[in-house]
């Protein structure tokens, strides 16, 4: 069974059919990419899956459980984690604290426990911190744990965001244009990082513009155009697909 | 309740409703051009009434009112120039706190200038006992002055915003401040103008109702709260809605005196405010999109 299954998703904004009857699946342990020209509906689809917007019709199933229309924090608690296209780190908090917030769903200490700092609380706190440090190590930013997150360089901030998304050990990681704003070298690093994440058994759904990154890291690629899926196959097959080529070379409308 | 008594309450409600409506419109003018809710709005009404009462010792009534409106307009412009103008992209929290601070300063200045006493202007025509008979209710001519002034303000503002170049620029500014700036509109000056304008109409209302409701240095806070209630009830940014909501609130308050202790009069307005915030933040007459944007 697919880890994530999207069935017949539709979303309309006023007169614009942003997403029309889109279905696809993401198999456990794979990296799937969602590509398409500007305005193809990638971001809308991303928001529908992560709970930011509710679909007009269709279903989003995570491990067979319907999650469409549920608020983001519930979706996150069910094991779906995400990054943001425009970096959304928490200002005034260190990189480590940012990543610890990412591990929020892995703790259970409540308000009262926090006030009283019970032994069980600080044990859990240490576990969360260790988890956050591991995530920072994974993105090779362990040495910057104490720095204020929003003071880091752009590429480092992207790394912290990724670590934050990974800190909860999500079943599915959603990456929203992770290469945006990165230079070639940083993009290469990102590709290797996604490889490492995949190797740890995390399933990845990637929305991306950068074709070289997509071809490098993906097991499967789905192509959107004007809200509809026009291809869904292995990267090489998609590259040879005449319709995809036509869309991307801009010869014709799809 | 007899018809005459009910009419009497209605008239009282309309009088208070006039100030609420004008304060609500004042909120709207500034909100439209800046996205700021000016917590000092009620103080403009107080300043108008107090200044006019002082000026009236030296000047005839029309000149005193004119002078008070002019002075308060200047105060409004000065507030913007001193505290608002040079802040770049301030957070909502910061703006709220600044305008609250301004309201306290204006109130305290009034306290030290005029003391704790109650002041009022004389009746514009006739005196306390002059009354017109209207369906069994006795209506002071001052009530008619208030209603006429409120009507004139609304009509004048409509003409200003739709017929004059500056007014149209202010509306453009409201629709999209950055785009307006790109088109070469001096948005900063328009913001100053919006503060001056809302201070001016607040002062005018403060003068007209002063013979009936009296003025004290500390009336601003409750007026601001009620003006805000009215602005929200009418749909933030909607002048016509504010007028309707102002009369509605004034009337409800007047009738509430029949059933509630007078001390709880303010509670009613706030209960309505809380209710409307919970149920329909876009107001009775407003569009939801605007409220949603305003809320974020």
């Amino acid at each position: 069974m697919a880890l994530l299954e999207v069935r017949g998703l539709c979303k309309r904004f006023g007169g614009l059919q942003a997403v029309q009857d889109v279905s696809f699946g993401v198999e456990p342990g794979t990296v799937k990419a969602l590509i398409g020209p500007n305005g193809a509906g990638k971001t809308t689809l991303f928001n529908l899956v992560s709970g930011v917007t509710a679909p007009d019709a269709g279903q989003v199933l995570l491990r067979g459980q319907a999650i469409q229309g549920r608020p983001p924090h519930e979706v996150a608690a069910l094991g779906l984690s995400r990054t943001f296209q425009q970096i959304r780190l928490f200002p005034g908090m260190s990189a480590l604290e940012n990543v610890m917030v990412g591990a929020h769903v892995r703790g259970r200490a409540g308000f009262l426990a926090g006030l009283l700092r019970l032994p069980s609380t600080w044990r859990e706190e240490r576990a969360l911190e260790a988890r956050a440090r591991r995530a920072l190590e994974l993105v090779e930013l362990g040495h910057l744990a104490a720095a204020e997150a929003t003071s880091l360089s752009y590429g480092q901030q992207r790394g912290v965001e990724l670590a934050r998304a990974l800190a909860s050990d999500p079943a599915l990681l959603l990456l929203d244009e992770p290469a945006a704003g990165l230079n070639v070298r940083e993009t290469d690093e990102l590709a290797r990082l996604i490889g490492r994440i995949r190797a740890r058994g995390v399933t990845v759904l990637l929305v991306e513009h950068d074709m070289s990154l997509v071809m490098q890291v993906s097991d499967e690629v789905a192509v959107l155009c004007f809200g509809q899926k026009i291809a869904d196959a292995a990267p090489q097959a998609v590259q040879r697909d005449p319709e995809v080529v036509r869309v991307y070379l801009g010869e014709d409308e799809c | 309740m007899t018809t005459a008594l009910a009419l009497q309450y209605l008239v009282a409600g309309l009088t208070y409703g006039t100030i609420y409506a004008v304060v609500g419109i004042g909120f709207n003018i500034i909100y439209n051009t800046t996205g700021i809710i000016n917590f000092a709005q009620g103080e403009f009404v107080m300043l108008g009434g107090m200044t006019a009462a002082s000026l009236h010792r030296l000047l005839p009534l029309p000149l005193a009112v004119l002078g008070a409106v002019a002075l308060t307009t200047l105060v409004g412009a000065a507030v913007e120039l001193t505290f608002i103008r040079w802040l770049r992209r301030p957070s909502v929290l910061r703006m709220i706190i600044v305008t609250i601070g301004v309201s306290i300063l204006l109130r305290e200045a009034a306290l030290h200038l005029w003391g704790e006493g109650v002041r009022s202007l004389p009746y514009f025509t006739g005196d306390e006992v002059t009354a017109l008979e209207l369906g069994g209710a006795r209506v002071s001519p001052q009530v008619l002055w208030s209603l006429a002034t409120c009507g004139a303000v609304v009509v004048a503002l409509q003409l200003f915003f739709h017929r004059t170049r500056t007014g149209r620029e202010m509306r453009a500014c409201a629709a999209n401040r950055e785009a307006a700036a790109l088109c070469g509109l001096a948005t900063r000056d328009l913001v100053t103008l919006s503060f001056a304008l809302s201070a001016g109409i607040g002062a005018l209302a403060g003068c007209v109702v002063s013979p009936i409701t009296y003025t004290r240095y500390d009336i601003g806070a409750s007026l601001a709260l009620k003006g805000f209630t009215v602005a929200i009830l009418g749909g933030l940014g909607n002048a016509g809605g504010a007028v309707a909501a102002g009369f509605l609130l004034g009337t409800l308050e007047a009738f509430s005196i029949a059933v509630l202790p007078a001390a709880y009069k303010d509670v009613l307005a706030i209960a309505i405010l809380l209710l409307i915030l919970f149920l329909r933040p876009s107001g009775l007459f407003g569009d939801r999109e605007l409220a949603r944007l305003g809320a974020s």
Partner: protein, 359 residues
Amino acid sequence: MPRARHLQLALLAAAVVAVQLGADAAGKPFWLTQLTMAAYGGLVVIGLCLFMGYAGQISLGHAGFFAIGGYTAAALTTADLTPRRGAALVELAARVHLLTLRPDLYGGELLTVRPWPAALAAVALAALVAALLGVPVLRLKGHYLAMATLGFGTVVSAVVVGTEGLGAADGLSGVPPFELLPGLAVAGGAEARAQNYYLAWGLVGLGMLLLLNLVHSREGRALRAIHGAEDAAGAMGIDAPRAKLRAFVLSAAFAAVGGVLMTHYTGGIGPSEASVMRSVRYVALVAVGGMGSLWGTLLTGTVLQFLSLRGVFGSFDDAVFGATLILVMLFAPEGLLRLELPAGLRAALARRRPPPAEG
């Protein structure tokens, strides 16, 4: 990190002792009375700091919670239940030791609720009101939240002034001492002045410890995350409305505790404590202390309240707070004291800041 907190609390304790010795040496022991009152005001301010500085919300109604605490405690501990003896509820309360007999001013006897159950009821009532208000109001942001809490504060103020049973414009007086532990009572009077000073500041220290624990805990991080980027916090699995509600209720409870203790200390409470201006003053104190700094807020909050209680600002009391509010917001929105990070380090970090993301 906990070690730093313990060090800070030790410094607070040292400062509290030093001030007491200093006041004694200077022959001004009566300063301790105002410092004690400033401490109880400090409880309100640090609680509000959690809600404003850490959770990033605004409340213009905290004097309302202070008043709910103070008035409930005062009403329960002064209302004489003797005439209602025999009523089932009164008998039941007497049987479970909620009531006490004490002499009144004229040699008669009063049957009233004991201070402890009264205090618990007061704080519980404030928390309950905060919860009922918070559920709908905390969905709102910015102006709306400010106006809604301002409206709440106005209602409390109007009810207090307009209710005969609460003493209307005179307020309630004759509130008895509050024996927290045997031999340790919150009470005015010169003989127990130093003891009460230490008691009040001990309670402030305890409050600080709890709040510092919280802001460095999982839920505290969640609050700060909501402040910084609410959508991202949601994507991390944080239920923002729920977290904000809890912070609101907790900060209301702090205000109520301050109200209860202040009322027992001064022996009464009046409607000015419930006024909107008082709420604005609490906001000003948090702003001056640096929105996100509990220590800064405690320091500036208690110092300014002490000066105000000493009458240093004269008839310009409110004006001083208004002006302070504006100046701080205009020139130092992060507060006068940014204790958490020295300026030099801050500037060095700022230079490495990447260009802000667009949109």
